[in-house]
């Protein structure tokens, strides 16, 4: 109990610190006092620039991270598999591919990108399910099928790069997750869908808890297991797709954050889901801030930083995955 409360306090404190630091540093540097004063008075030009450029970026990072981490928790509950992550098993790349295809063909539909993302993510999720289901979901088969699907969608997405058209740059930017160009419109989109998804996932937490027992036990407790799985999957795909549509393709967040969160606050989804949301927000904001300050003025996208951290972590998880869902 003390560990749980302590973990929440620490992660919230770190999050606040990261937000303040991220707002202060970069190509324009301001002190914390100037920042606060400027925000209230509206007369500091530098602060106005930060408000227009850096704030949307910070908020988008936070919500992207929270959405991806919670999406991971939900997928892991539904698939009873600690390795399920929207990025690893192809949901994000499916979301990215479908929304890209549609937006490239019909650029006027840009505002509806989250919707197409959702269809793409749902398609990938369905394929992973259908192809890896063999009287149950074995963790290894799921991850192998997921990686294959991910590779397919990523490959199709990258083939856009070789069409030799000048539209390439903009398309490339849309999937490679640079938070640079984020505006308040992006904040509105991810704010709406992301917050709805996060609230829904909190409501679904007791179902997630029941699914962590066996299906027959959950059924005997009065849960409609298939319906619960479907609804939780839909929310997970919604969160992953909107994060991909606005934040770009970022893998491993849904793997790393829930795992660490479980060791800190336990596997009760009523606590795990909010904690993972905070942890995911912190991780992506930290990755993005790091990416734009370490080699300034060059930027390393958050997605690349996550891949560098996430790859070794996946190996670590694979080696100990048998122990996570014990008797």
């Amino acid at each position: 109990m003390i560990k749980k409360v302590g973990s929440f306090i620490v992660v919230i404190a770190l999050l606040v610190a990261a937000i303040i630091y991220s707002a202060m540093t970069g190509s324009i540097k301001v002190g914390i006092l100037d920042l606060v004063q400027g925000l209230f008075s509206g007369t500091n030009d530098q602060v106005e620039v930060i408000k227009d450029l850096r704030f949307p970026r910070i908020i988008v990072s936070l919500l992207t991270g929270a959405a991806l981490a919670v999406s991971g928790v939900l997928l892991q509950a539904v698939m009873k598999n600690p390795l399920a992550d929207a990025g690893v098993i192809g949901i994000s790349s499916g979301a990215g591919l479908v929304s890209l295809t549609v937006v490239t063909i019909f650029p006027g539909l840009f505002f509806w990108m989250p919707l197409f993302s959702f269809f793409g993510g749902a398609l990938a999720c369905y394929l992973v399910y259908a192809l890896s289901w063999k009287s149950g979901l074995s963790p290894l088969r799921l991850i192998l099928v997921g990686i294959a699907i991910n590779a397919t969608f990523t490959g199709l997405g990258q083939s856009f790069n070789y069409r030799g058209s000048y539209a390439v740059t903009s398309v490339n930017q849309a999937i490679s997750s640079i938070f640079t160009m984020k505006t308040w419109t992006d904040v509105q989109i991810i704010g709406l869908y992301g917050v709805v998804g996060l609230l829904l996932s909190l409501l679904l937490s007791s179902w997630c808890n029941m699914l962590s027992l066996q299906d027959k036990t959950a059924k005997n407790l009065g849960l409609r297991v298939t319906r619960a799985r479907l609804l939780i999957s839909v929310v997970a795909v919604l969160l992953a797709s909107v994060a991909t549509a606005i934040g770009g393709l970022i893998a491993f967040v849904g793997l790393l954050v829930p795992h660490i969160a479980r060791t800190l606050v336990g596997s009760d989804h009523k606590v795990l889901i909010p904690f993972s949301a905070l942890g995911g927000a912190l991780l992506i904001l930290a990755a993005d801030t790091l990416g734009r300050t370490v080699l300034a003025p060059t930027e390393i996208p958050a997605s690349i930083i996550m891949t560098i951290i996430g790859g070794p972590f996946l190996i670590f998880m694979l080696r100990r995955s048998e122990r996570v869902y014990g008797n």
Partner: protein
């Protein structure tokens, strides 16, 4: 409960249950016995609506199980499975509290009834001292009692137990069976369980259902059902039956 001409198959080729009909008497302890793979657990699964019969139906208070909503059924009937899984860090009290979920609305919070049911379940399974322990800190017998406690927290008139004693040593076996008997005698619970040990079945049951190859060979009181001939027919084992004043009826296998 009434079982009416139930047929069931996992693969739609061979029938695990063949046209079974019987009655489960309310307020009694009924034990299903039979050799491995005879359909005991399948029958229990059908009775708890975990499987839907291909033909026939099961009636609970005159209503077909298929027509009862899952949540309503979970208020009528609780099941303890042979093997169970749960996150290793779940505490005893938290797992037992899951038994209250059928009684809550989607967003409902725990109320006094829930608290009381959880306390009673912990008390009757003798787990009050262990309430804040994690599942992976418990012995096999204690774990089994936790799952029984969860089922008791559901406050159902009917309790099913699928081989509750199989993986336990003699002490814990008797402990569980005495608990089952007390639940029946003191709270009037209807109990249906699957057992492997014929002597335990005789000792703790009001009625015994003997199954073989998906069919019911005999059902009735232990004295009526357990005969040399029936045991030979179902298990292919020769037995001696003894009846003594201090032990009651018991079975000794003497060869095959």
């Amino acid at each position: 409960m009434e079982i009416k001409q139930v047929t069931f198959s996992y693969d739609k080729k061979t029938d695990q249950l063949k046209n079974i009909s019987d009655k489960i008497e309310m307020g009694k302890i009924t034990t299903i016995i039979g050799p491995n793979g005879c359909g005991k657990s399948t029958l229990l699964g059908i009775l708890s609506q975990n499987y839907a019969p291909a033909h026939g139906e099961v009636l609970l208070d005159g209503k077909s199980l298929a027509q009862i909503k899952p949540k309503e059924l979970a208020k009528q009937l609780a099941v303890v499975h042979q093997q169970n899984e749960a996150p290793y860090d779940l505490t005893v009290e938290r797992l037992v509290s899951y038994g209250r979920l059928p009684h809550r609305s989607f967003l409902g919070q725990a109320n006094e009834d829930d608290e009381r049911a959880i306390e009673e379940a912990l008390a009757s399974t003798n787990l009050q001292q262990k309430r804040s322990m994690r599942l992976n800190q418990l012995s096999g017998g204690e774990k089994q009692r936790v799952w029984i406690a969860m089922a008791l927290a559901q406050k159902t008139p009917i309790l099913f137990l699928d081989e509750p004693t199989t993986f336990l040593d003699m002490y814990y076996q008797i402990e569980i069976l005495e608990l089952v008997k007390a639940l029946n005698r003191e709270h009037g619970m209807t109990i249906v369980m699957v057992l492997h040990d014929i002597n335990q079945a005789i000792r703790y049951s009001d009625r015994i259902v003997v199954m073989k190859a998906g069919e019911i060979v005999a059902s009735g009181t232990p004295e009526a059902v357990i005969t040399k001939e029936i045991v030979k027919e179902t298990y292919q084992v020769n037995v001696l039956l003894k009846q003594e004043s201090d032990t009651g009826l018991y079975v000794v296998p003497i060869g095959i």
